[in-house]
């Protein structure tokens, strides 16, 4: 088991972090995603529970994505200001995700960067994402600016 431990783990960790060259078709992703939604739907009895389940799945994705993107784009420096993290999401994350509908991903990225926030989706004209930051974050931001 020792051998497997070192051989398996180091092989994965040593792979480069550059973007993989393979491209996957959008419809493959769409089909997979819709199947996931259906699966969640079959196990819950209300819409809010469904959303919660999807959000859970998104958590993992967002967390992994954050690490990879930060490593790649910024050499490991993470954002501390609210405006910057939003910009980061807007530019880098969206670029990486190719504009997929992902409110749960955004929430996970925000939370894992130390910005606890509530993200909700509003269908108004297209899909807008409202990001409501916790009070603590706004206060912190103000104090950072004051300095």
């Amino acid at each position: 088991m020792e051998v497997r431990f070192t051989r398996g783990k180091s092989a994965i960790l040593e792979r480069s972090l550059t973007r993989p060259k393979t491209e996957v078709s959008v419809s493959a992703f769409a089909l997979l995603f819709s199947e996931m939604v259906q699966y969640c739907q079959s196990r819950v009895y209300s819409v809010s529970e469904l959303q919660a389940r999807l959000a859970d799945m998104g958590q993992g994705v967002g967390a992994s994505l954050l690490d990879v993107l930060v490593m790649r784009e910024k050499n490991g420096k993470r954002e501390t200001k609210v405006l910057n993290i939003l910009l980061f999401i807007k530019v880098n994350v969206w670029k990486a995700l190719f504009g997929k509908e992902a409110d749960k991903l955004e929430q996970a990225i925000l939370t894992h960067s130390g910005f606890p926030a509530k993200v909700t989706v509003h269908w108004h004209k297209g899909t807008t994402l409202m990001i409501k930051f916790d009070e603590a974050v706004i206060a912190r931001d103000k104090s950072l600016d004051g300095r």
Binding site: R19, V24, S25, A28, L32, G60, V61, S64
Partner: protein, 180 residues
Amino acid sequence: MSRQSNRATDSKKMNSELFTLTYGALVTQLCKDYENDEEVNKQLDKMGYNIGVRLIEDFLARSSVGRCHDFRETADVIAKVAFKMYLGVTPSVTNWSPAGDEFSLILESNPLVDFVELPDNHSNLVYSSLLCGVLRGALEMVQMAVDVRFAQDTLRGDSVTEIRMKFIKRIEENLPAGDE
């Protein structure tokens, strides 16, 4: 909006990372919901089947491939057109059985398993079970019953991923009961 952009979405591609991560989230969720790996495998296969049933229509609409005349042609189309179109990889077709009803698809790289490794307590999990279901479902919609399973898996320590496909029988067209 969605009517017009049908052409444009024909060859829309995206980076495989989100796809890989999403599939990973799905498998993780399933592992939490079901206690043992066999159940998870079955569930993934079932979901794959549902996907395959819809994927075949998308495939036939986007590629101009006509009816295949025999199983060999089917194998080629799956490997060279379908896999390329959906996953961006082209497996090779090998190991034909003498009767010509069984073959292997060898995948050197599998986008579903980028950066994935199986922990020790899930050694029975066939991570890419979804693929088996997709192939089975899609072929069933074109009147072919096949058996699909993984012969080799890079996550279990093999050097390549090998999917073994066996032709079982041709499905007869069944008219819906209410048509009489």
